[in-house]
């Protein structure tokens, strides 16, 4: 993760320019997370309602996610994908993605777009 971040954090000449980086916003983080797609369902994690919380402290972003099933074996892939995508957001230095099972996921968390993509 830090590799991509360092690329964000430096000018072409290589000098650190973190003061010039844009402010990280919740909207930008969520937009990045829309590129994280559940490979089984084909719907992104935001529209599936899997993102429980995001918090931004300076250049550090913390994402708390859940999954549709506690035993979902794709958890490692999805969380790693989410971390990579968030760390690509301009201004982000580090991202931490954590899984939580409380509250458990319910279909009510899906957006209308998520339901539409699942055929409803």
């Amino acid at each position: 993760m830090s590799h991509e971040h360092q690329q964000n954090d430096r000018t072409p000449s290589g000098s650190a320019t973190s003061k010039e980086l844009p402010e990280v916003t919740n909207a930008a983080v969520l937009e990045a997370l829309r590129d994280v797609v559940d490979p089984e369902l084909g719907v992104n994690v935001v529209d599936l309602g899997l993102v429980l919380d995001t918090s931004i402290e300076g250049r550090h972003v913390q994402v708390v996610m859940t999954l549709t099933t506690p035993g979902c074996p794709l958890h490692g892939v999805i969380t790693r994908d989410a971390q990579i995508r968030v760390e690509r957001v301009p201004g982000v230095r580090t991202a931490l993605v954590e899984l939580a099972w409380d509250p458990p996921w319910t279909p009510d968390r899906m957006t209308e777009e998520g339901k539409r993509q699942l055929g409803w």
Binding site: G71, C72, I84, M110
Partner: protein
């Protein structure tokens, strides 16, 4: 959704089980297409037993043994006890299954049957030990988890019974084993395959259709009914042996046979109840699903379930060979074949694409199979399953039977081609909007 990233087996351990199984099914249907007369007339011939064991041992058991070692760590949220045991189980199971099939195909060669049975048994015991030791480490164990492990223990017992049945032809002291055929069939078809499918299906169908809020009690009661039925089948054999031993001089075989028959009937009633609960569990998953469009694996699952119902309808009317055919030629190929492709797609995706997720565009799981082949396998295997039943019930003309079996062979070859494409093909990401 079949393996946690930190407990995943190396790709080729479960994958080779699944691909080997996928080779066996076209072999079975091709044999029936070449020799359709095997299906007509008397059915318990060595040739038909060879075909039946190609389906049950080489196809279903091999895929089950591979899939269960992938599934158990997921369901139990615990790493598999031993990768080495999993690795060694493959050659033993496959060599043993080939030995048994060759033993039947060669005209009931007892030495091959026993040797094959022992080899297969060694491999299946290795899998069973792996499962039980994995389950022992699990922090939680639900109804589906326990039922899945139990189903594999029944599979081991099935092979034990089959090997003893074969050995009884050479060892006079095992002569009574001939009466244990219903126990061998019951253990294999219902204790092992049906219970294994129902328990794994309870979890997998929920994941694949994204069902939410489906209760667990149908599966719990289903498992209890299957366990009770297996116990009754065993008691029937034991009662038969004991009663025949004590009263044989007065009424040879009558008391034992009556007791065994009564136990078998009650066991069948319990199994019918279990099948009803299986259908209820599936229906509840579908009713509670959040993914509207059903994918191929679920379509295969539902078509297979129809063959399960047909098997009981046929058995209830005394058409036992056709009932068994509904299970062997319809239920198992459709359900296990469909699920095997889904599992294989997941394994291949994890192996090939998971490492580069986030760094490059990757296909979704549904982009892995060849879409147009899915209805081909569904319809061809379905038609062939009905064809086998019809041929057995009405002794269809040989040319018609040959055509029906050729359709089945085409479906089975298509399934194998699908598996090979999933593992080795080039998959394009293109269906993001078509859930």
């Amino acid at each position: 959704m079949l393996a946690t990233s930190d407990s995943a087996l190396p790709f080729w351990i479960p994958a080779r089980f699944l691909l080997t199984g996928a080779i066996a099914l076209p072999a079975a249907f091709t044999a029936m297409a070449v020799r359709p007369e095997w299906l007509l007339g008397y059915h318990a011939t060595p040739a038909m037993l060879a075909v039946a064991h190609t389906v049950t041992l080489l196809f279903a058991t091999t895929i089950f043994a591979g899939a269960v070692q992938q599934l158990a760590p997921v369901l139990l949220a615990t790493p598999l006890h031993s990768v080495r045991l999993a690795r060694w189980s493959y050659p033993l199971v496959v060599a043993g299954a080939v030995g048994v099939v060759a033993g039947f195909a060669g005209g009931y060669r007892v030495a091959w049957l026993v040797a094959g049975g022992i080899l297969a048994l060694a491999g299946l015991v290795a899998v069973a030990v792996n499962l039980v030791r994995t389950a022992a480490r699990a922090k939680r164990m639900g109804a589906a988890d326990g039922a899945l492990v139990a189903s594999f223990v029944y599979l081991v017992l099935t092979v034990v019974m089959g090997t003893l049945l074969a050995a009884s032809r050479r060892i006079p002291e095992l002569g009574g084993m001939a009466d244990a055929l219903s126990l061998h069939l019951g253990l294999g078809l219902f204790g092992a395959f049906f219970l294994g499918i129902a328990s794994a299906g309870h979890k997998l169908v929920a994941m694949f259709v994204l069902s939410h809020g489906t209760p667990g009690w149908p599966l719990r009661w289903l498992a209890n009914l299957v366990h009770a039925a297996m116990a009754l089948l065993l008691l029937g054999v034991l009662a038969g042996v004991l009663l025949d031993g004590v009263f044989d001089r007065y009424s040879p075989g009558v008391l034992g046979g009556t007791a065994r028959g009564a136990m078998d009937v009650v066991a069948a009633v319990l199994l019918a109840g279990a099948v009803g609960l299986f259908l209820l569990d599936t229906a509840l998953h579908l009713r509670n699903r959040k993914r509207r469009v059903l994918e191929a694996a679920i379509e295969h699952y539902l078509a297979a379930s129809a063959f399960l119902v047909a098997a009981f309808a046929l058995a209830a009317t005394g058409r036992y060979p056709a009932a068994i055919a509904a299970l062997l030629a319809g239920f198992l190929p459709l359900l296990i074949g469909g699920m095997a492709m889904k599992i294989l797609a997941f394994l291949a995706w994890q192996h090939r694409y998971a490492p580069v997720v986030g760094r490059t565009e990757v296909p979704l799981l549904r982009d892995m199979p060849i879409a147009w082949l899915e209805p081909v396998t569904l319809w061809a295997l379905g038609v062939a399953g009905l064809g086998v039943i019809a041929a057995m019930l009405w002794d269809l003309p040989v040319p018609i039977t040959r055509v029906l079996m050729a359709i089945g062979a085409a479906g089975a070859w298509a399934l194998l081609a699908q598996g090979l494409w999933i593992v080795f093909g080039t998959h394009a990401p293109n269906t993001r909007e078509a859930s």
